[in-house]
Symmetry: C2
Subunit: 201 residues, 2 copies
Amino acid sequence: MFVLSSPSGAGKTTMSRALMAEDNEITMSVSATTRRPRPGEVDGVDYYFVSPDQFQSMVQENALLEWATVFGNRYGTPRAPVEAALAAGRDVLFDIDWQGTQQLQQTDAASDLVRVFILPPTLAELERRLTSRNTDHPDVIAGRMARARDEISHWGEYDYILVNDDAETCLNEIRAILKAERLRRKRQLGLAGFVRGMLGE
Amino acid sequence: MFVLSSPSGAGKTTMSRALMAEDNEITMSVSATTRRPRPGEVDGVDYYFVSPDQFQSMVQENALLEWATVFGNRYGTPRAPVEAALAAGRDVLFDIDWQGTQQLQQTDAASDLVRVFILPPTLAELERRLTSRNTDHPDVIAGRMARARDEISHWGEYDYILVNDDAETCLNEIRAILKAERLRRKRQLGLAGFVRGMLGE
């Protein structure tokens, strides 16, 4: 369970898409949300777009691994696809915020969690990136900057911290973390048998 | 503190030399030993070659971080160069066996330890590599194979396990582990100040 968190605009979505395009062992967890789709967003790819009633049903049926409310919209991780991917031996990538990460940390799967936080080089650079998207009103951007400060204040709850000065460098760092974490003894499930076979036991 | 352990012949020394040649942030810990130099080994580079009396003095003066006896020869890690390198913010590479690794695990620095074990693809391949060196008698090789089995039986005491099927693949895996471990929050000592500065606190 590989969590990428960052304030909006720090590069998390770019990194997630690049990873998904090149790495065949990882499945993206697609969140459910009650917010409206932005231009270009595809239902079932970027998010599952659901009504507030549908979201509330998912909460009540214990169908979400974690959920949170941000700017009045609800976001959550559907449980079934994550559990199916993990059972099939795949890794799962979560593009979630500190609230969701805290909730995953409280589940049985916490020992399998790898938490990566991406910082922007500066807040000024973050604001520049948010403004250049041109998709949001200035007051929305001000709200996002306040939220970015809140998100950043939770950096101490993550295992790895990256500073996204340069997208390719940052992506290489994420690749190294994934590669290393897959080499951890506890994640190489066939290893005990391999060594027993080698020693003829 | 980055530990590479493996049975003799599994590629540990090749990997260590390659890392030292390319990575400017890491210092190799040179062990002291009472065994005789092999052809080509240089005092102060491959080992510090010392007499049994000198070794015993180092033990008594608490000048060794860890030590062990293998085939009647003593091996140990001089403490001062390691502490100096760590104090200067450098990483230190240890080419030591499971006994030394266990002893480092019992020091104050245990939380900083990254333990990597390199397995050969098979014992037959290990024996082939040992034989092709042509530096040892057959009975010495039989002894090394017995010792290799003992070393391998301690694989469960390491954080990361690599199988050295191919030297370049194995080296890339070591590079990824080093890169990832350096990105751990707890190892980025300037990070708290960086984030405080960013948030204007």
